[in-house]
């Protein structure tokens, strides 16, 4: 079954075995220079969490290799000694996928930050895992090319992390997620052997293991090199900002755009609470009286954009938009986006802390989901502005809470859990783009039955028979699902006939 509760991370930080630490540091210093092996708490403390700060654990040791062969040696050292390894990029992940292990090595890939080559004719870039997402597009810009997936952390997040999380962004509906834009991943197994997944052709022989590596949250192999697809920079992009008096009108407008055969380059929605939250901060010019604001972007050649903007505007008006404003310049377009892109920092200013959720639901349920969240705001006595990737039904409710108040934290967590359960009920998923990590382990028990969870364990074993690579993430144990069922006061039907421990 692969159940190993000793490997299960928890919010309570565990103490570090100093004797073991001493041995591992000595072994790693035989393969890395002394400054690339950190173990003093003042040095390792900054790795205690990723973007999910609710969970913290100081790692036993931090390794900072500089080359692929050093990574391989670190992995061999750990494999031989049965030490868990947690890979980490920039640490911007929001689900705790890079939460350290108290008895493990935190493997930072930050020093592998070189762009190895850009081939403008083939429209590919080959980069090391620690290269920042935005740095790829910046380097490709000289060739009028860019890397399409643009998570909102793109200034800081790395491509290795994007591969681990299958990161999205605001342009996924038209240009796809990481999985659609990565051609090849070179990676090391936990035993330290290099394997190439995919390649520079459009397909590779055998099973499509590249599709499994992408989004595997660092549990299957350690990425050492990535070849991504670059696409031509559009000649022009224009954005429409539309206001709606009813959230349901805005939701119907999204469906009407798709029904009209339009795939916008970006299609984002902010509810009134979100607009009011970001406007003082970003001065985007959002209509603060509107129940919802929709941002709808077209890109392409000037001819294409002109025709598409006309078509979009007509559909939005027919869908009862109260105001339709088209960006007249690049600076105005960026201003429209400024509010959406600053939603998280604005939430950070409006409350001591915020908890960003990440479910995806079929678009037709957007309006009912929003109503349900409104009810939950009253139930948990917490505010929850909403921003979403409306084009693909990916919601980002931002639960505002006070992290110095244990009761507020507990209410925020319960609020988040209820939103996730609702997304599953509506036929959606508990994570659209942030991943499962440790944050959503319980909700995995709701979304998947045990046979499927066991199949995930089987996939993990096929790539990492030792089970040492990033243990305890993504796939909950049988025991954990049982406990979760009890806490909820009922055992989910699909587990009713399973033995309990």
């Amino acid at each position: 079954m692969g159940d190993n509760d000793a490997a299960m991370p928890s919010t309570a930080s565990q103490t570090i075995d100093r004797a073991q630490q001493h041995l591992v540091v000595a072994a790693l210093r035989s393969v890395l220079s002394a400054d690339c092996v950190l173990h003093r708490e003042e040095d390792t403390r900054s790795y205690e969490c990723d973007g999910l700060t609710l969970y913290r654990q100081v790692p036993m040791v931090v390794a900072l290799p500089e080359t692929e062969s050093q990574i391989a040696q670190v992995l061999k050292v750990c494999h031989d000694r049965q030490i868990p390894v947690v890979p980490r990029g920039a640490g911007t992940g929001l689900a705790g996928s890079a939460l350290p292990h108290a008895g493990g090595v935190l493997l930072s890939l930050a020093k592998l930050n070189r762009i190895l080559g850009i081939d403008p004719q083939a429209r590919t870039a080959t980069v090391q895992p620690g290269v920042r997402n935005l740095a790829i597009s910046e380097a490709a810009a000289a060739h009028r090319l860019y890397y399409a997936p643009d998570p909102s952390s793109q200034i800081a997040c790395t491509i290795g992390g994007n591969v681990a999380e299958n990161s999205g962004g605001v342009h996924c509906l038209k240009y796809g997620l990481t999985v659609h834009n990565v051609l090849r991943v070179r990676a090391l197994t936990m035993a330290g052997d290099a394997i190439e997944f995919g390649g520079c052709a459009l397909d590779a022989p055998g099973l499509d293991l590249l599709a499994v590596i992408v989004g595997s949250e660092g549990m299957l192999a350690v990425t050492t090199e990535v070849t991504v697809r670059l696409v031509p920079l559009p000649q022009l992009a224009r954005c429409i900002m539309a206001s709606f008096a009813q959230v349901s009108d805005a939701c119907h407008a999204v469906a009407a755009l798709i029904a009209a055969g339009i795939i916008p380059a970006g299609l984002e929605m902010l509810d009134q609470a979100a607009s009011r939250l970001v406007e003082p901060f970003a001065h985007a010019g959002y209509d603060l009286d509107a129940a919802a604001v929709l941002l709808c972007e077209s890109d392409g050649t000037p001819e294409e954009v002109g025709a598409e903007i006309d078509h979009m505007s007509a559909v939005l008006r027919e869908s009862h938009a109260t105001q339709v404003q088209v960006s007249g310049s690049e600076s105005e377009r960026l201003r429209f986006w400024a509010g959406r892109k600053n939603a998280f920092p604005a939430a950070g200013r409006a409350a001591p802390a915020y908890y960003c959720m990440d479910g995806t639901i079929p678009r037709r349920h957007l309006a009912s989901m929003l109503l349900a969240i409104q009810d939950m705001e009253a139930k948990y006595r917490l505010k929850c502005p909403n921003v979403f990737h409306a084009g693909d039904g990916n919601l980002h409710p931002l639960i505002l809470f006070d992290d110095s108040d244990a009761d507020s934290v507990a209410r925020a967590e319960a609020f988040g859990a209820e939103i996730l359960e609702k997304t599953v009920q509506l036929g959606g998923t508990i994570s659209g783009e942030h991943g499962i990590g440790v944050e959503k382990l319980d909700q995995m028990c709701t979304q998947f039955d045990r046979a499927t969870l066991d199949a995930f364990c089987g996939i993990k074993r096929a790539f990492d028979p030792s089970g040492l690579l990033n243990p305890g993430k993504v796939v909950p144990t049988l025991h954990r699902c049982g406990e979760f069922g009890k806490r909820r006061g009922s055992v989910p039907a699909q587990f009713a006939d399973l033995p309990r421990f």
């Binding site: 299958n166 659209g432 991943g435």
Partner: protein
């Protein structure tokens, strides 16, 4: 599990106790594809029908036995399509077979939202594994990172992991306008031109080069296609003739595919140099897919593909004894073997079609 799926599960259980190998086969339209088959036929077509299709969600869910003809007719009535233009190779072609074989047509290397192969449009799948368990991977929404993306791994799996009983797919709007341009061009000039155009914001949805002629299909809005066509020049082909010709490439009824000479498919980087194997050739996907009709030894063709950072498949005909697919690296092969034993611990499904030297349930090594 409903009746049809339960009946399939029962057949898998029976095969497990009798130690028989199962060969999953629906319409049989792609019997020619892969290594020689083995085992008793398991026909999954009782599980059929479109389960859900909501055009404004851009998602279609269908049971494995649903014919591609039915699915594409449904989509057509809402001006939508399967972006990857799957070849049918016969009236009986089903969506299950389409996923299991993972073959895509001319639009595979399209610019814009239609870019991608079969795996790029798979959102979820239900699989009956070798223990007769129904596993549910992915879902019905565009963005979903819960659990490993095992649904996409089923694309091209040729049934070695189990019976794909249901699949959910992202579908896309049909383009308003399509135009095909023809150019006279030698092979290396055409490859160079296609890659140069690929780096420009042009609505190119397909390309084909053979016998010194390059065809380029533009798809998009009227405004976009008109301006791109004016920029590219060339000779504009008659619409009906062009549509028929692209269909001929997709279904391999074009004269290039006629006759018995072995048909090889080389998948290489689009910028790879000309193959220079001295054989009759058709180039698609902006240079990334190169078909040749050739009696050359498999080793020679594979060596050339490998030299160009690609791989070669003996797609149809010829001597299949050397294996139709390029062999895997040792590291990949080890993962494949372990995956198989996880999904099919009794070795019931005919894995030889993908991996030629796999032992069978009824002939264990």
């Amino acid at each position: 599990m409903d009746e049809a799926v339960e009946a399939l599960a029962e057949k898998i259980r029976a095969a497990a106790s009798a130690r028989t190998t199962l060969r999953i086969r629906a319409g049989g339209s792609k019997d020619f594809y892969g290594n020689p088959h083995h085992g008793a036929v398991l026909d999954p077509r009782a599980a059929a029908g479109i389960v859900a299709y909501e055009p404004t969600e851009l998602v279609l869910v269908a049971r494995c036995g649903t014919t591609l003809a039915e699915i594409e007719a449904q989509l057509e009535s809402h001006a939508q399509m399967l972006a990857f233009e799957p070849p049918r190779f016969g009236a009986g072609a089903t969506i299950g077979g389409c996923i299991a074989c993972g073959l895509a047509g001319p639009r595979r290397a399209s610019a814009g939202y239609a870019y991608g192969g079969v795996r790029d449009f798979v959102l979820g799948a239900r699989l009956l594994d070798g223990r007769s368990q129904l596993l549910c991977f992915g879902g019905m929404v565009m963005k979903n990172v819960a659990g490993y993306d095992a649904a996409r791994m089923l694309v091209g799996s040729l049934g070695v992991l189990g019976v794909i009983v249901e699949v959910s797919l992202k579908v896309v709007p049909k383009h308003a306008v399509e135009t095909t341009l023809q150019f006279s061009m030698a092979e290396s000039a055409a490859l160079n031109q296609l890659n140069t155009w690929g780096g420009q914001p042009l609505p190119i949805s397909a390309s084909a080069w053979q016998a010194e002629r390059l065809w380029v299909r533009l798809s998009g809005s009227a405004a976009g296609v008109t301006s791109a066509a004016a920029r590219l020049g060339g000779e504009r082909l008659d619409h009906a003739f062009a549509a028929q010709s692209w269909h001929g490439l997709r279904e391999q009824t074009d004269t290039f595919f006629a006759g018995d000479a072995p048909l090889w498919r080389l998948s290489v980087p689009s910028t790879a140099a000309p193959l220079a194997l001295g054989q009759r050739q058709l180039i698609e996907w902006g240079g990334a897919q190169r078909w040749i009709r050739s009696d050359l030894p498999a080793a020679e063709i594979r060596a050339r593909a490998h030299e160009l950072s690609g791989h070669a498949t003996l797609f149809r005909g010829g001597n299949r004894s050397a294996g139709v697919f390029s062999p895997l690296s040792l590291g990949l092969a080890a993962i494949h073997q372990r995956l198989r034993s996880q999904f099919d611990p009794f070795g019931l499904f005919d894995a030889g079609r993908l991996f030629p030297d796999t032992p069978h349930a009824d002939h264990p090594r």
